[in-house]
């Protein structure tokens, strides 16, 4: 009943190998757990980094779009107000044509209005009285104390004269509730979105501002952080409640014709050297500067992204090498530890390939478990991991750059300063890829240890204790 010599036995596999691999893996739980955690982190890094890069790119793109929109809006506004000359005390801080809290502490005398009106070519003069109310805050920075006002609301006194409010951009145009201010209104106020919260009042309510009662006629929908706290009222009411009778904070001067603008500006400049006079051409050049700055910032962001990709690539490579080294050393140790077992298996007729596939299968199994763990860690921890591993995209570089006003950052304002940490959950394809990579790593890392196991001399191995 002996087998024929010439019978060539074809290698056929049953579930046996896999079952044994499972048992061997489950035999050393603590070790497998440690390896799985270590490998899992490498996997997590691998799957979260690519998604982080994609998110960074999206963020940059969004910022670019926001900038372009902002620049276009400003351009349009400048084009629409070519005959406008802006006048303010030169110590005042103004940014763009938007009304803002400024921080202006100096005021002009009302008498200047008639003086300027008398200059030839001047069509209209629109005075504003702007005053912010809030609390003073002190910030310690670079060893020095800076005090600034954190405004609760900004009072904007405007001339409620129908010839002015109908022709020029004085009042907000988007009224979300109630009605806008109109000619001759007094004792009434148009609140900003944030004012309604601050005062806890809506249309028809009475609010008390600096000791005087005002009826709310409407709410405007300006959403920027500066605009949303601005409440509009008659300039004479504003002068009254702020104790600034006969004072104004700035003027908008409109020329009869665009050709008169430069002449008027130089006359005013000569007569009132202490004033800051800005014409459309100056605003344009300012816009140009701003555009240049944005371009620079965008270029920086793009180069940061390039850098990010290089870093990410290096990190992925390191993670891959680390993972395969973990598999490598674990399997090398396992093979050493199980030398006797290898000897027995070979003595009872296991081929080199049987032994090799056994060990590789175990390594792949461990790696696949690690892949699952990695995907779990990666999905949960991707934001943290990416922000730890990837350079942040900082649109304005360091703090205090142009346009950034310390303490005021609002991500809803287009082009607001601040840094973007872009993150996203890993895509399913990335996870699938990670799974494949895990299996590949297991196979790769265990190649040499398994080969060594298969080459073990059964006689030597049997002697091994």
């Amino acid at each position: 009943m002996r087998r024929d010599d010439k019978t060539t036995v074809k290698e056929v596999y049953y579930l046996g190998v896999l079952t044994r691999a499972f048992r061997n893996v489950s035999r050393r739980k603590i070790r497998v757990l440690l390896v799985v955690i270590a490998l899992g982190f490498s996997m997590a890094i691998m799957i979260s980094i690519p998604s982080g890069i994609v998110a960074n790119q999206t963020a940059t793109q969004r910022l670019t779009e926001n900038y372009n929109e902002l620049i276009n809006n400003m351009q349009e506004e400048i084009n629409a107000t070519l005959t406008l000359i802006e006048i303010s005390p030169s110590s005042g801080f103004r940014f763009g044509p938007m009304p803002g809290p400024g921080g202006s502490e100096s005021y002009l005398d009302e008498s200047i209005i008639s003086d300027i009106e008398s200059i030839s070519g001047v069509k209209d003069v629109v005075p504003f009285l702007e005053k912010s109310e809030g609390t003073n805050e002190t910030v310690e920075r670079f060893g020095r104390a800076f005090t600034f006002l954190r405004p609760d609301y900004t009072i904007m006194g405007v001339p409620l004269n129908s010839s002015l409010i109908n022709n020029y951009s004085i009042l907000p145009t988007n009224i979300t509730d109630g009605i806008n201010l109109k000619e001759g209104d007094s004792g009434v106020v148009l609140l900003g979105l944030n004012n309604t919260e601050y005062f806890g009042a809506g249309v028809g309510d009475t609010v008390n501002i600096l000791g005087s009662d005002f009826i709310v006629v409407g709410v405007h929908g300006a959403s920027g952080f500066r605009e949303a706290i601005v409440l509009y009222m008659n300039i004479s009411d504003a002068q009254m409640i702020t104790d600034l009778l006969g004072k104004i904070s700035r003027l908008d001067v409109y020329a009869e014709d665009q050709s008169d603008v430069d002449g008027i500006a130089s006359t005013i400049g000569a007569e009132y050297p202490e004033l800051s006079v800005t014409t459309a051409s100056e605003r344009l050049s300012r816009l140009q500067n701003m555009q240049d700055m944005y371009q620079n910032t965008l270029q920086n962001a793009e180069s940061t992204i390039g850098q990010t990709q290089t870093t990410a690539f290096q990190e992925i490579i390191v993670a891959l090498i680390a993972a395969s080294l973990i598999v490598f050393f674990t399997m090398l140790y396992t093979v050493r530890e199980r030398t006797k077992e290898i000897g027995i298996l070979k003595a009872i007729g296991f081929s080199n390939w049987n032994v090799m596939s056994q060990f590789m299968l175990e390594a792949i199994l461990i790696s696949l478990i690690a892949g699952v763990v990695g995907i779990v860690i990666g999905s949960i921890g991707a934001p943290t991991l990416t922000s730890l591993l990837l350079p942040h995209i900082s649109m304005f570089g360091t703090r205090g750059g142009p346009g950034s006003f310390q303490g005021y950052t609002n991500p809803e304002v287009p082009g607001a300063p601040g840094s973007q940490v872009a993150t996203a959950a890993p895509a399913p394809q990335t996870m699938l890829l990670a799974f494949g990579v895990a299996a590949l790593l297991g196979a790769l890392g265990s190649l040499y240890p398994a080969w060594r196991a298969s080459r073990t001399s059964p006689m030597e191995a049997l002697r091994y204790e």
């Binding site: 002996r2 087998r3 290698e11 049953y14 027995i344 007729g349 049987n354 059964p458 006689m459």
Partner: protein
Amino acid sequence: MSELVLKTEKLDKVYKLGGRKVRALSDVNLQVKKGDFISIMGPSGSGKTTLLNMLGCLDKPTYGKVILDGVDITKVPEKSLYKIRRHKVGFIFQTFNLMPYLNSIENVELPMEGTKKSKDEKMKRARELLKMVGLSEREEHRPHRLSAGEQQRVAIARALANNPAIVLADEPTGNLDSKTGYEIVRLMGKLSTDQGTTIVVVTHDSHVASHAGRILFLYDGRLKPQERRGTHLMGKLACPNCRKEIQPDDTFCPRCGKKL
């Protein structure tokens, strides 16, 4: 019963130990017929295990031939040797060497892995073998829940799994108490007589040897041609007349002078 299962011709094995050549086996000529139960005795270091490794394709001789079931296994390339080990040889070890993470039936199935047998066939064969060694009740037990004797029975069943041409046992009773050892030897004897299994046992236990049909002595790597000379007493060779210890080389008993 004259068919030769195993034959060695002028088997030499030389080891290099620290630059010095050690001759472990020299000019070993051995013939094993089908159904033989042969015991090879000899003191430690006499080359018993070396010879057994050579017969079981675990080691290659320096010179000479090993013809197993008609094939000169010294000419078989290393990477095909596993087929010989799998199909022609069954190993029984002193320390049983069962896989601790497999139960009895799985341990017996192990050598059948990679053969053409279906899962059911393997299972059936393993059950049959476990029944033969008297362990039908212990199929699902893992080695740590079996006694030493039971473990060795599983190992015997495993050695027989692929119906090998020869079973090689290296000190099969070395780790067993005398009573259990006796049972194991009886089992091997029974396999030899009932099933016609060819068995070569290496031992220095004369009790084990006494069950064998033939006893060979290995001294300093040489196989002594004298077989069945004297009797065995307490593991030593003794004069059948005066029962004093004799050397295998002796032609006459040094005590009583009787021709051996």
